[in-house]
Symmetry: C2
Subunit: 213 residues, 2 copies
Amino acid sequence: MKLHNYFRSSAAYRVRIGLALKGLAYDYVSVHLAKGEQFAPAFAAMNPQSLVPVLETDDGTLLYQSLAILQWLDETHPEPRLLPTEPAARNRVRSLALISACEIHPLNNLRVLRYLTDVLGVSEEQKNAWYRHWVATGFEALEARLAHEPATGTFCHGDTPGFADVVLVPQVANARRFDVDLTPFPTIVRIDAACRALPAFQAAEPSRQPDAA
Amino acid sequence: MKLHNYFRSSAAYRVRIGLALKGLAYDYVSVHLAKGEQFAPAFAAMNPQSLVPVLETDDGTLLYQSLAILQWLDETHPEPRLLPTEPAARNRVRSLALISACEIHPLNNLRVLRYLTDVLGVSEEQKNAWYRHWVATGFEALEARLAHEPATGTFCHGDTPGFADVVLVPQVANARRFDVDLTPFPTIVRIDAACRALPAFQAAEPSRQPDAA
């Protein structure tokens, strides 16, 4: 398999963690987003969204969108499981992941921040306040659920890392990069630390990737 | 089942379509977002995100996040299927849905538009340009995939409506509400029309809900 990838993309980071948890090897194909390589014709033909990650299987099948790639991984390589088997538990885990994936990350990615500054003329300070606002709004809800729902364990769901943790860790890394105050979110911080103690999460860290600046 | 709902919420609209396609009856519990009812203590205790939809099962289980609720529906009431059974096809359908769910809708929902105008002081014209920009960016990619991938049929995936269509139709409705020019997206327009000809999609329309203005 080939993972079309960028060290700092948090969507790609999710898939790297998933691949590492499954123990799957892959070729790392760098698409340097800061240099605009996602807009090169060859890549745009592969993914009309001009976004990473894209997972390319050995038979040439192209798999898109980090959350959909992670679920493909879980359906084709079931052990260890990223999602539990019981439907209500699967809803819990997916819905925890979607707080970051739908309500935080889309508001804070590179192209959105560029629109704020380049088109709307927003100041650097206002841009950073926007970033922190959406992290805090999402994390308040996530913290409330993780702290109160009995299914939370060492990790977001029980005592093995899974789908919700794979999405959480890159989001916490982004929050730290933008100096978000994490003291109101002790459960998130605890789970993030438990994840980052594991080799699979460490191997996927942005700073360890071949295209890291 | 009870669906905590709001006629104009496009995330709730997705779940209404899914329930109607499955032929499942439910009680409609209105949470009037424009009046701020999602912030009432009783609702916020039920969903710390203060967002609809929430699906409450007869045994009191609370299910969150429209995409995760739809997948719960598909896992507990498999026929008719919203997702195909083959993993690469499931990736295709999920990734088509996630273009709207992760790259368009989160940027254009009510609280984000309010932040733009109320906090950043963006003009009405700039706000509408922002809205149309993210719809057009997402729809360009979606149109390219739907127009070129051979698995597209009468609907997003083959000739039966499913998960990607359930997400597409509310997004097209939003685009129309903000006067987005849809002429560059003929495949999207064709599939949206095929969906809206079906009773399940009609029953879920915002204007037909009990709390419609």
